[in-house]
């Protein structure tokens, strides 16, 4: 089976612009989460979606939004980009099996804001 896929792999934007990042989960996985990883730090949770509903939101401003589609793919949108939004954006999908729910990460989208 294919793993989690993300597009684009790299992106360069300027301050004030808007960006949309895309994620396709592993087949059969209904939950998608988004994380931001700035250089030198661990990933930070942004959003989690399950069955098209937002199930959790991290400590990020309203400029960040996301949605999940009927095929369980997801988009992350960031408006009014700031230099500090430059980071690796990671998508993870998961499937619950009993009490176990392992998150599997995609390769990420590297965003550079100039």
């Amino acid at each position: 089976d294919a793993g989690v896929t993300q597009s684009p792999t790299h992106l360069i934007k300027t301050r004030g612009q808007q960006v949309t990042l895309r994620c396709s989960p592993i087949s059969g996985h209904k939950s998608v989460s988004w994380y931001q990883q700035v250089l030198g730090q661990g990933p930070q949770f942004i959003f989690q979606y399950y069955e098209k509903e937002e199930r959790g939101r991290g400590n990020f401003p309203d400029r960040f939004s996301a949605r999940q589609f009927p095929n369980y793919s997801s988009e992350l949108n960031v408006n009014a980009l700031l230099l500090g939004d430059s980071a690796l954006y990671l998508c993870a999908s998961s499937l619950r099996r009993g009490r176990e729910e392992t998150q599997y990460f995609g390769p990420g989208t590297r965003l550079l804001v100039l």
Binding site: S31, S33, Y35, Q37, Q41, G42, P43, Q44, F45, Q48, Y50, R55, G56, G58, L88, L90, A92, S94, R99, E100, E101, T102, Q103, Y104, F105, P107, G108, R110
Partner: protein, 111 residues
């Protein structure tokens, strides 16, 4: 929120050496995963281990949930083991599948 501390922050080994990475967490957890992040940024699952012990080849992990720590053991290290190792936990009883990551252990294995 839950705090996750990893030690040591940096580790340099000679090929063939063994190492132990530690992860301390501040609250009860539903989920604990160890990841290896390669130089291209890909997070690779190593273990799902909220409690107990697991082994996979040269790697093994132990989580003592009652004492709120987990250990990752790497034996006979190879240069391909280099990268950053993250521990990530999901706090119990929040209803939210959000992983909180530690700051990682950067491992460099020298030939």
């Amino acid at each position: 929120g839950i705090q996750v501390e990893q030690s040591p922050p940096d580790l340099i080994l000679q090929e063939g050496a063994n190492s132990t990475l530690r992860c301390n967490f501040s609250d009860s957890v539903n989920n604990l995963q160890w990841f290896h992040q390669n130089p291209w940024g890909q997070l690779i699952n190593l273990f799902y281990i909220p409690s107990g012990t697991k082994q996979n080849g040269r790697l093994s992990a132990t989580t003592v949930a009652t004492e709120r720590y987990s250990l990752l053991y790497i034996s006979s290290s190879q240069t391909t083991d280099s990268g950053v190792y993250f521990c990530a936990v999901e706090r119990a009883n929040t209803g939210r599948r959000a992983l909180t990551f530690g700051s990682g252990t950067r491992l460099q294995v020298q030939p």
